[in-house]
Amino acid sequence: MRMTYLKNGETLSLNSALCTGCRECIEVCPHAVFDMQGGKAMIADRLSCMECGACMKNCAAGAIKVKAGVGCAAAVIQGMLRGTEPACSCGKADTRGVTTEAKGAAVGSKAGCC
């Protein structure tokens, strides 16, 4: 059963001019958001997009942009309490040992608080 949520996929964008048709976005998307049309990727099911950022991370052509984040209410509340971006309960210590490239990106989890 296809389950949809609020505001899904709003920050996802695909620049067809840059797309090389490598299909990597289709390979990594867990929600079948993309499809191929005329040798290029297209957004076929935006409402299923949970904005995890896997497509952007693996788009060698840089054609995909999405504001990747964790769809976790607890993380949002933590962020509100700390006055930071949504983050899992471990807070700023979370980024310790994490590569710098990832620090700017999503810091969070998909399970309780991991």
Partner: protein, 385 residues
Amino acid sequence: MEKTPASRYPADSASRYPADSAAWYPADSAACGCGKTPVISLQAVPRQRREYVTGFVTTGERKVPVVSTRLSWRDVRGGWKVRWDIGRSHYAVLPGLYAVGAPGSDSPVLVTANYKLTFDKLRKELGGVDAWILVLDTKGVNVWCAAGKGTFGTRELEQRIMAVKLQDVVSHRTLVLPQLGATGVSAHEVKRDSGWQVKYGPVRARDIRAFLAGGLKKNNEMRRILFPLTERMAIAPTELVQSWPLLLGIAAASALLGLPFDAGYAGRLLSVCLPLLGAVGVGTLLFPALLPYVPFRAFSLKGALLGALWGIAVSFVVRASLPGAAALILMAMPIAAFLSMNFTGSSTFTSQPGAALEVKRGLIPMISSLAIGLGLTVVTRILPL
């Protein structure tokens, strides 16, 4: 920080890991996300007895531990415990290279996280397969979470390849990663930096054998993440255990609302306590069970609806007066709604803007409803209605 994580690993780790210190390559930093305790320590691993290691395979000068593809009762019990949130942040295997079957230089390399539940789920699917398993240091966190945090990431992968000298073990240059690791790993950067080709395998470990047999090809089903009942219920116990502050609050509030301490105390206590504990059950167990079938898209609204239905039902059971029933419903709704909203963190399809919207719109109504319900309960206790 009281102690540097590195110091937890003695310099002569080879003496504790007689097989091969490189194969048992210890994590360079063992601090867990919370910065309190290290996820892995050398003390912790021997206690698990590493009974999943059945022998060693020699490659060049090195011995790589071969792991069993069958789970022991201890593995099963361990998996059950972490689902109940017992020792969940200390359930890890040492990062490094492992083997299943009798792999050679042309065998596939499967990359995974060092959460033991993840490691177990992978190896149990590999009966009859000859493969290498490269375990990244994800601080004991599963693949998808760790990818979101960046610990299952490009840098860690590249460093781990070098640390285990993977180029000396296999003759090819292909790595199979779980698809959900793609949130943290950039395949083209790995290729550019190290020359290794990342192939994203299936989402679920149970498809790995078909994926390997089919020449590293995926079908749509292997790519899709679904969230069936069994998976929703597998995480439900964790949600229930993590709601302990709420359970404690309900117990305390019920104890107070039952006062004065006379013959009717137990009855009054239970008439509040049981409906509200039930509401916790609704939010943590019934909600995930019914998730796809309850109307509304916001988890909190779904939860509020279930909470209201529960409140109505339980009011009949405890034969509450009309104001008493209203109070129960007003308290059950936000409890179920809040816990349901929290389930967004365990779900597989919720986006951050959606979760933010729910929190923004939902918190104040929830708090108000709870406060009014509590107030009404107090009033019905004082005034004989």
